[in-house]
Amino acid sequence: MSSTEVSAIEELTNKEYKYGFVSNIEADSLPPGLNEDTIRKISAIKGEPEFMLEYRLKAYNHWLTLKEPHWANVKYPEIDYNSISYYSAPKKKPQLKSLDEIDPELRNTFEKLGISLEEQKRLSNVAVDAVFDSVSVATTFREKLSELGIIFCSFSEAVKNHPEIVKKYLGSVVPYTDNFFASLNSAVFSDGSFAYIPKGIRCPMELSTYFRMNAANTGQFERTLLIADEGAYVSYLEGCTAPQRDENQLHAAVVELIALDNAQIKYSTVQNWYAGDKDGKGGIYNFVTKRGACRGVNSKISWTQVETGSAITWKYPSCILQGDNSIGEFYSVAVTNNMQQADTGTKMIHLGKNTRSTIISKGISAGKSNNSYRGQVKVSRKAENARNFSQCDSLLLGDKCGAHTFPYLEINNPSAQVEHEATTSKIGEDQIFYLNQRGISTEDAIGLIVNGYCKEVFKELPMEFAVEAQKLLSISLEGSVG
């Protein structure tokens, strides 16, 4: 590598997090600590029905029996679960009829992020359910959706207003016994999104939630449940960015998707949480359990993610292909820079006949970061004619970073066809020079090349999200390679 390349990498590496600011909304939070009492308090604050409290307590008691997992290719200091505050809410929680009623301070926060709600409303036809520090404060377009019988609300509201649906599906894809972080989430989850698309309905707009973590030292435990009934279709967008912090913030979300016969769910994420400073200090720990069940015949679940943030990411959006002819897809771009660590990938579990899955993973590592892809393809004995195609590409920027691929195959039916391709490449000096010679700076040249490399994934994102994702990628790699 040439010296200009090295200095370009260092320059990029030294860029400070663009969205690092702290907003001043007064938080109303529980003192740090986790015990049964904490859980009863959370449930009481939220005015939950009995079944919910019982569920939380069962999860908590199970969690106590578990040990934090350490099989992922990531390293971090021990987390003291008793130093975390498990509930925090904006102080004023008025019932909002329109966007004008939103706390101006919150409005500002969104403006700074470039996600003005009016703009979203006006320009992109997106219903925004903004989750701000664990509690939903703004829900829009709900009425329009409810005309179609679509329920789109915060998880807390769903627990109160649609307990029968929540009861039926909660934990049916990710049981509270699933893993350490899922158990913890099941015990203490704060809020999140809920959507139910009734039979035969195609949701006319992208459903979207912007997450924002704010209060210091507050773990954020989102819970999301999406159900597409027979023949329904929904596209859901999740995007987030967090303020600069000096302490690590734990985030352990659970997302469950359920697609019944002939239903389709498209779930897209752009994740840009604070990754820590260039020494890795202060970033978010993102330990997420995301799973979708293609429960019905001909159903389809498609995960698309662009991951640029967090100090540590531990995340494997997966599909359980139960219904015959069901389809699971995973498209991922994971960028790591500086000291970031990402261990991410997917699981495709083929149970039904003629089930198909596609995995396209693009890992980009810069700085001293470590990027691991972990993918499991499992074909059960009864899954006749299952097919999988996996492609895992790694792109290295500089020579201090690492990329690792861990594919796991478990094939129990001889009719299965499984294909796996993997490549590792570097951005060539000659490519950069060629673009420089056309008048393009090294930074922009990297942006062009990296965006080109991720094209297959970006094309799966809804239009406005794709633009945002490209910007994010450029921001997170600014000055990164040469």
Binding site: T4, Y434, Q437, G439, I440, G452, Y453
Partner: protein
Amino acid sequence: MMLEIKNLHVNVGGKEILKGIDLIVNAGEVHAIMGPNGSGKSTLAQTIAGKQDYEITKGQVLLEGKNLLELSPEDRAREGVFLAFQYPIELPGVSNTNLLKTALNEIRKYRGLEAIDTMEFLTLIKSKMKLVELEQSLLSRAVNEGFSGGEKKRNEIFQMAVLEPKLAILDETDSGLDIDALRIVANGVTKLKSKDNATIVVTHYQRLLDYIIPDFVHVLYNGRIVKSGGKDLALELEERGYDWLKEDKELIAG
């Protein structure tokens, strides 16, 4: 004076490749540089363009009096230097249009102009495509990826046509072109020629010079320009090869 090179010495990989080049190119002129393999033609072209890791031990390169050697490669391009690469680079996933729009806007920004309007850009692209008879399909494809050798060369000239440089350096753009493509490319270059720009063509074949008539022909030999002349020099080289110049040079050096 468009380009002035004074006593340029360049080391590559610790070895002296250019051993004192002097060259003056005026606006409106076409210069041809010929010379055997390994004599340093591409090294000279890439040095002007600002290739890293080329160590300039002595000498100067001025573009309209401005010291090019202290500018980054991108700033040289923005000043109006264009290099059609001998081996154009493949850029998987980066579309030709995207590259050109980014490049054009960077150059415009440098010159204090506003970003080009999308419609205007498309019109420009269309007209330049005609000029070099470029297939529409090559536009939306990734830059040079899977292009045939000749397509790559033609694409270089297309980029040049869009970016309208002051100084264009074509490094063996004629190699690998079929007869028709050669004529098209050469005609394109000729049409783009004006009293305000200049062209340096590096070539091994005199046939290109039937289409692009050079004002001067220089022979680069072992890192030095050993002979300069008019377009007849190219014919002479075609007939006699380079060996006779070797002796010439030894006479000069001796």
